[in-house]
Point group: C2
């Protein structure tokens, strides 16, 4: 693994906006589903997924969901339930309540917090179909109180017949309320505009290929969508106290995701840098996905040696990584100085896969330097807020003139008159 | 004002994505500013704003800000301070703290909540330059703890010489930390990519013309942006207890905003419908902005008579309006049934302009039916969250096998090995 200078290294990469052809295909698919509904859905499912279905077959029946449990190991069910419990427990702590501020003049100001009504979760059918992602997208919606959580997924996962039973079990455990066997841009269009078989949703989330990503962007505004995720990234900030074999394994766990994943070590220790570099080479050869990991390490991996730990923290803040591990003598003491990082893993036992699968915080985390302004998925992604104003007569009589002053200064006399019509009526009634 | 059927009425309209020419202009401007920095900024300012500036003149000096107070009425300063106080007080109640969940096994899970570091606020120079909008964009950022709040605005407001003093006073009162006299797509590009004179920001908010809107979309991802606001909307839900003159004035206060604004009354009372219709005609003729209000009322206004109040609530939820007034016998009793509305005004004295200027809740509210999934601007728009995982050795020894089970099920052996390398080391040490 190569050692590079801080100045030359950039974690951020350009986003993928698709080719003009892909954009055109997606626009056509979305418009057709919007106009024709189920007919277009079924046509594209036959065309793109080689599956001839009737409308009534789109929805996966309860029986099929139950049967999926017979096709997975009991140890998997136990494990997914334990993970789901932890994720639920963590996200429960993000619950927020509507609140009111009662004024002595009788006025009430407040903020009403409510779950979205209906959410769609896309689950891909290719190699990126991960049961853990189903949990991470669905459980926050469910904990937020979203009553209808709709999953869409291509009619066959990983080229096998039917939907992967592991995905179905994860969906059932997470609390999905409806499942439809439809994927691609056509599934996104159905969720946005609705068809006879699928009612429209308020928000669409979940990962997908470029067609799914472009379709989500296309329907944005009609519904809400989640952020587009780039390739996964990890930055490890470590000092001499770190165990090279642990760090190397953690870097590789990220590198094996895909060729464009990025794994970076930042350390003021030259000896750790060299030891980790050697360990990465040793462990890499033993990995089943070594070709992917090798490509990732060669193209997007780096070991950056800094003069000081402080300089290392500056590098981290500039990279704003999706995942950050801090493996130093006293990691907690450094957290306050981390300005930009999606998820922060502290100490030698907080290996990044602990968070990917199990600890409880969400594994859908801002990539591509966007941790500067974006956040991991949480309950806030599945609520909506309304402000509430109940102004008393006393308050309006007191503040009316000031409000009119501000309105008139902006040239909005009609705004001022909405106040004056009330003040005048009060004056009339006082005279009586 | 016309009475229409529920079935035929739609509040939602298509968004404006600009002409191909506008899109091309914006792309060219953004790329030039990104590549050339200040030189491009100054060139476009001369070209589009007829103002020849040098780099050192871009930033508005402290003196000019202070001098602005001499050009506005003391009553305006008093009013804007009172409004700023209320807005600050309301938004303070949205403050959230980082939190930790301490486990008996020594693990700590948590969520770290931090303000964004640098935010840019666009303030238009045309007719839509409103001091109240400066407060509504800046104060939430300031209350959230954003240390650097940068305002950009064209070098001349409303065609007059220099920046409107009312805008400058509002900026000073709201807590803007830097002001630059630059507008249009070039200002947005400067905020996103930075130039010698203007450092880049993490998020850009504030209204603007189509070029500004397209430029914001163009730089989205490099920085965060706020939602695009459509024309303003109000729906009033009222019964026989409502005063027709109040309702008419409130509808017109919305209609005077622009020709595409929408003002709608929903009521089960035929007599109220007729009385409001007559009042709208009477009051409309007296308005300075009657031409605009007339166009809005004719094209996008409506009085919808429903069979029952319950049906009226259903209409409201379907329309998902930006502003909703409930003027009924017991408005509080209906709030729980309102699923979709950006801001809810209750009772006869909560006229919508009270919220536009003064009460405290934000006046930047989702339009175009997006209250189904979006929320008014608040502190959440100016923070970022990081999750934190500190896993103890005890916890990893307990959960390691389960985590490996889940990782291997997804074919990610590298993830499993990041755990096993740690478990094996513990076993070795136990043997010693």
């Amino acid at each position: 693994m190569k050692v590079v200078s801080v100045r030359d290294f950039k974690l951020q990469r350009e986003s993928d906006y698709g080719t003009p052809e892909q954009n055109e295909t997606v626009k056509a698919v979305v418009q057709a589903v919007r106009a024709e509904g189920d007919a277009a859905l079924l046509r594209y499912t036959e065309q793109f997924d080689n599956m001839k279905l009737e409308s009534y077959q789109l929805r996966v029946p309860e029986d099929e969901l139950k049967a999926a449990y017979d096709h997975v190991e009991p140890s998997f069910v136990t494990a997914i339930r334990a993970a789901a419990d932890n994720i639920r427990t963590f996200h429960m702590k993000q619950k927020r309540s509507s609140w009111m501020d009662l004024q002595p003049d009788g006025s009430i100001l407040g903020q009403i917090i409510r779950p979205l009504k209906r959410v769609g979760v896309y689950v891909p059918g290719g190699k990126a179909a991960y049961p853990s992602s189903v949990l991470m997208n669905v459980i926050p919606a469910q904990v937020a109180g979203v009553p209808e959580i709709v999953m869409v997924t291509p009619p066959a996962t990983r080229g096998k017949e039917g939907i992967d039973p592991y995905i179905l079990v994860a969906a059932a455990e997470a609390g999905v309320t409806e499942i439809y066997r439809v994927g691609g841009a056509q599934a996104i269009a159905a969720l946005a505009y609705g068809t006879d078989s699928i009612s429209p949703v308020d928000k669409i989330c979940g990962p997908g290929n470029i067609y799914v990503a472009l379709a989500k962007r296309e329907v944005y505004g009609v519904v809400n969508i989640d952020s587009m995720a780039g390739p996964s990234e990890i930055v490890v900030l470590a000092d001499d106290t770190a165990q090279p074999s642990f760090i190397a394994a953690d870097l590789l766990s990220q590198a094996e995701h895909d060729e464009m994943a990025s794994a970076v070590l930042v350390t003021p220790s030259q000896s750790l840098a060299e030891a980790v570099s050697a360990e990465v080479e040793r462990q890499l050869e033993l990995l089943p996905r070594r070709d992917i990991a090798r490509a990732s390490v060669d193209s997007y991996g780096a070991i950056i040696v800094t003069d000081t730990l402080k300089e290392g923290i500056e590098v981290v803040n500039r990279l704003a990584p999706e995942h950050l591990e801090i493996v130093t003598e006293e990691p907690m003491a450094l957290v306050g100085q981390i300005e930009n990082a999606g998820a922060i893993f502290l100490g030698p036992y907080s290996s990044e896969p602990v968070g990917d699968y199990f600890a409880g915080p969400n594994h859908i985390i801002p990539t591509n330097g966007t941790a500067r302004f974006a956040s991991p998925v949480d309950l806030d992604d599945f609520i909506k807020k309304s402000s509430m104003i109940y102004y008393s007569k006393e308050a309006l009589l007191r503040d009316g003139e000031t409000i009119m002053e501000l309105a008139r200064r902006e040239g909005l006399e009609g705004h001022a008159r909405a106040i004056s019509v009330r003040l005048e009526q009060e004056q009339k009634q006082e005279k009586k």
